[in-house]
Amino acid sequence: MTQRQPQHHKVVPLTDAVRRYVRDGTHLAIGGFTLNRNPMAAIREIVRQRVRNLHLYAHSNGTGLDELIGGGCVARLEIAYGGNGVATPTCIRFRKAVEAGRIVVEDYSNYMMSLRFLAGAMGVPFLPTLSGLGSDIAARWGFSKAMRRDDPRLPDDKLIVMDNPFGAWGEASRVLLVPAVNPDVTLLHVQTADAMGTCRIDGLPFGDIEQAKASRHVIVTCETLTTTEALRAHPERNQLAFPHVSAVCHVPWGGYPTAVYRRYDYDAEYLKAYAEAAGDEERFAAYQERYIFGVDSHEAFLEAVGRPRLEALKADPETGYAVNMKRG
């Protein structure tokens, strides 16, 4: 392990990783959940590189999702939830894009999206659930039958309701089958990784691991790039082993302005300012100029935010968040 060959060394600059794997038309998934551990530095880099026509798979990737849509990168979206809880009940650029018909959207539930990633990770064509039977999620499709037929990257059916082939076994008369998702690329932001790509997440992993395992390529950004030796002293705590990972980028504060458990909290002030800017075209353009297009790197972005502001978000070692931080 210590004299590991170069073949397993995957550390590259973030700009290179994005340029190499995230292209026009890429089917993309992003890790994290609403205002936690979204791969924000990678997302800003995608926006900065003006990638277009992404097909995005999301469960509840609020903040990251909204920046990608706001950046005009997304053409099609399969999604469970576009919001940030009570912080921003509905993501505003998402809402505007759907209402204006600028993106084609297809709705699922969070469990359905999670199962679809799991099916992709498992290598099976579908998984069953008792969720959504009788709902409009089952009845109404965002992608038409014709669109599906013409695109080999889409399953022919959004989902299928089937009688339980095992009779009444499992107390179910019928199940809803959701088709697997296999993204081209998943972006994850984690607390710790090594150069080979093994990852350690502290706190809730959300759907990150299934998303990663379902993907052809995984780009990992990490707060800390550590040694293989250090990670392997406790393999129980590493959720993703290196064979799944294509690129590792060392990007401290790469989840900002979302929270990274035990490292830093979300920046409520930034998120609020974002939500306000997102409501107005001119102000949103100014926001993007200030934080994305007007800065040429993640480091320059952090300077634009300002170090003292970042310092104030640092997590308390016991609770894992910034205790008594101003959030109102």
Partner: protein, 262 residues
């Protein structure tokens, strides 16, 4: 006995907390639903267990979270599962049958079906909301669900624009016929009243109206016919309930004061 002052928001929170039994496992989101869960735990259900769709079980909620991914729901949890674990916990009948869930919605119909997706045509909506999140899953799996609603005619409608989270579907046995487990929305708690699903008709009826609100006013704020014949006045929050709610559960007023809509 002295007359207590309280807000509709406080009343709603306490009415929901009273629905929670000791030992119940409580699924909730953020905002008032989480406040209700915390209030139940501090007031009437000390053994209840709060969990979130993001996979944290029985966290030590020292500060109110703004989202179910807030690190404030991770601290002191029994375990950190993932999304799959959280939903399996509800779909699994051994654990799922012990759960009571609290949801919110933009629209509700007479059978307790919820819309959190859109107003207008699905492919080009007039208003787009956040979407299901875990709402559809919870309403599909959990035997007892509470909905929090603002009591307005445009929210209580005969036919919702999009059926995101299944309640009784078309009433009668249509929920079971669709293959869903028994359950879905059984109680709706609004800023004016508590409504329940009739086990026979599977329609919402008025169970309790809040002090100072006439049953007639409930009907006028509801976009479909409501049976008010069985209703009576709700017991207002007690001094103890209010004290614990204000001083212990939300001392900063994060939910009780600052966030009137969610």
């Amino acid at each position: 006995m002295e007359k207590l002052c309280y807000t509709p928001r406080e009343m709603m929170t306490i009415m929901a907390a009273r629905e929670i039994g000791d030992g119940d496992i409580v699924f909730c989101g953020t905002g008032i639903s989480m406040l209700a869960a915390v209030a139940a735990k501090k007031i009437n259900a000390p053994n209840s267990v709060i969990f979130f769709e993001t996979g944290a079980v029985d966290a030590r909620i020292a500060e109110l979270p703004l989202a179910v991914s807030d690190p404030r729901i991770m601290y002191g949890a029994a375990a950190h599962g993932n999304l799959l674990d959280a939903f399996a916990f509800m779909q699994n009948r051994f654990t799922g049958d012990r759960i009571i869930a609290i949801l919110g919605a933009a629209q509700i119909d007479p059978f307790g079906n919820l819309n959190t997706t859109c107003i207008g045509p699905y492919d080009r909506p007039v208003i787009r909301f956040s979407g299901s999140g875990g709402g559809c899953d919870v309403a599909s799996f959990v035997p007892r669900c509470i909905a929090f609603m603002q009591h307005e005619k445009r929210k209580f409608v005969e036919r919702i624009d999009y059926l995101t989270s299944p309640g009784g579907l078309d009433g009668g046995r249509s929920r079971e016929k669709a293959g869903l487990r028994p359950g879905g929305i059984g109680v709706v708690i609004t800023n004016k009243a508590v409504m329940r699903i009739d086990p026979e008709t599977r329609r919402l009826y008025l169970d309790r109206y809040y002090p100072g609100i006439a049953p007639r006013e409930i009907q006028d704020s509801t976009g479909f016919a409501v049976d008010v014949s069985r209703s009576c006045e709700a017991s207002p929050p007690t001094a103890t309930e209010l004290r614990i709610l204000r001083e212990v559960c939300d001392p900063q007023g994060l939910i009780l004061r600052n966030r009137p809509s969610d």
